[in-house]
Amino acid sequence: MSTPPISRGFHGRGPSGKSARIPPGQHLVTDFPVLSAGPTPEPDLANWRFTLSDGESPLGEWTWEQFNALPQTDLTVDIHCVTTWSKLDTTWRGVSIDTLLEAAGLSEPPGPFVLIDCEGGYTTNVPSEDLLDGKAMVATQFDGEPLDPEHGGPARLLVPHLYFWKSAKWVRRLQFLDSEIPGFWEENGYHIYGDPWREQRYDGD
């Protein structure tokens, strides 16, 4: 790669402001920005259902009460949005994907890929192994409080080691698949996997 042009007079916060926990091209924020492609859905806990499926075949379905009766997991993690903000030490509570699989009577995921379906039609995709071994959960609480609708409440996926668009808001179903199907942003030019440490923002990165 050729040497980038120097922006005359630009100093920025300088390298001293960078933590080893901030991936390349990211910067630290202390607030919690909101990014969504459309309106925030109204929570409807009475009709809320969460489903695991193998293709279209249901493997398990939970009402809001049933879901909250599952063993809960706490996670404190750093999150990284593709729009370049990172937030450190965020605390979440929810149900790990390991727990969900176990509750559905499965010892392993029924397929190597997952397509995540959300209220409002949003989708995203991740490899199944990225959801296992405590790496991911369906989160219902942020910072000790029920998750705000604008941040994905009542429940969002949390896959903190990938760019945050993978942590889909208003999640309703995890569909296990034999082959990978790109989700919403992945169809719209964003990277199929999205590892912030390899700066996989866009297709081809």
Binding site: S7, G9, P15, V29, D31, G38, T84, G121
Partner: protein, 254 residues
């Protein structure tokens, strides 16, 4: 939300390109437009954005996203940048930067919050502050494409001095080509102001916008609270969520 546009970013890696500042235009005391020369610019659609990367002389880099303000058919790519308090990149772009300076960018990015003149039906644009930037790209595109699609912009600013593109918007609204402009000034109004003077609310969206049965394509861009409220109100007014596209900015732009 289920409606997707053609992917605009192809399998080809998005390369960093060098942009040279051709001209700097002060829009408001805090907002400035950068007119750029980008030799390898691949073209864009109205509503897309770019990632900008600044490099200091000691090698430090900082990267942020900015909406493109210019129409796809304009001779130069233009970005409009609001200087944010403590904004590491924006305070440079809308501060120290001057004609002849260079920085890197890559794009265009985003295939969703996009409008082209080939799309049928009326279009309702709702913007707050510098959220008007991608909406302006759409209006400029509509004007140069001589589109007859009815279009309305509802634009919320704090005061008259904070209105970005004020003269150009007024000019576009005077063309009699189906574009309607409504300003609302939320904090301070000039003497004799007989326009709207409150935050965007449901009544305003209903009065200014198109009826739901006309199925307008709706684009909302601005600070999160404005976008959240306007999207919710429009949904409550019967507009299908699939026709409501949102783009938010906030302190994340710092």
């Amino acid at each position: 939300m289920t409606e997707t546009e053609t992917p605009v970013v192809g399998a080809k890696h998005l390369q960093w390109m060098t942009a040279t500042v051709r001209e700097v235009i002060d829009e408001t005391p805090r907002v400035r437009t950068l007119v750029l020369d980008i030799p390898d610019w691949p073209g864009h659609k109205a509503g897309q954005h770019v990632d900008v990367r600044l490099t200091s002389d000691d090698g430090y880099q900082a990267q942020r996203s900015y909406s493109i303000a210019s129409a796809p058919d304009a001779p130069h790519v233009m970005l409009t940048v609001e200087r944010l308090p403590d904004g590491e990149v924006s305070s440079y772009l809308a501060g120290d930067l001057r004609a002849g300076d260079q920085f890197e960018l890559r794009g265009p990015i985003g295939g969703y919050f996009v409008w082209t003149s080939a799309l049928a039906g009326p279009v309702f644009l709702v913007g707050g502050g510098s959220g008007v930037v991608p909406l302006m790209a759409m209006l400029r595109h509509r004007a140069t494409a001589k589109s007859a699609v009815p279009a309305t912009l509802l634009y919320s600013s704090r005061s008259e001095a904070d209105i970005i593109y004020r003269d150009e918007l007024m000019h576009l609204a005077g063309q009699g080509d189906g574009f309607t402009l409504a300003h609302t000034l939320t904090r301070e109004q000039p003497a004799g102001w007989n326009g709207l003077k409150r935050r965007i609310d449901r009544d305003m969206l209903q009065t200014v916008g198109f009826a739901a049965d006309m199925q307008p394509r709706i684009f909302i861009c601005g600070p999160t609270p404005l976008v959240e409220a306007a999207a919710r109100d429009l949904r409550d007014l019967g507009h299908p969520p699939s026709l409501i596209k949102t783009e938010r900015f906030g302190p994340s732009g710092k």
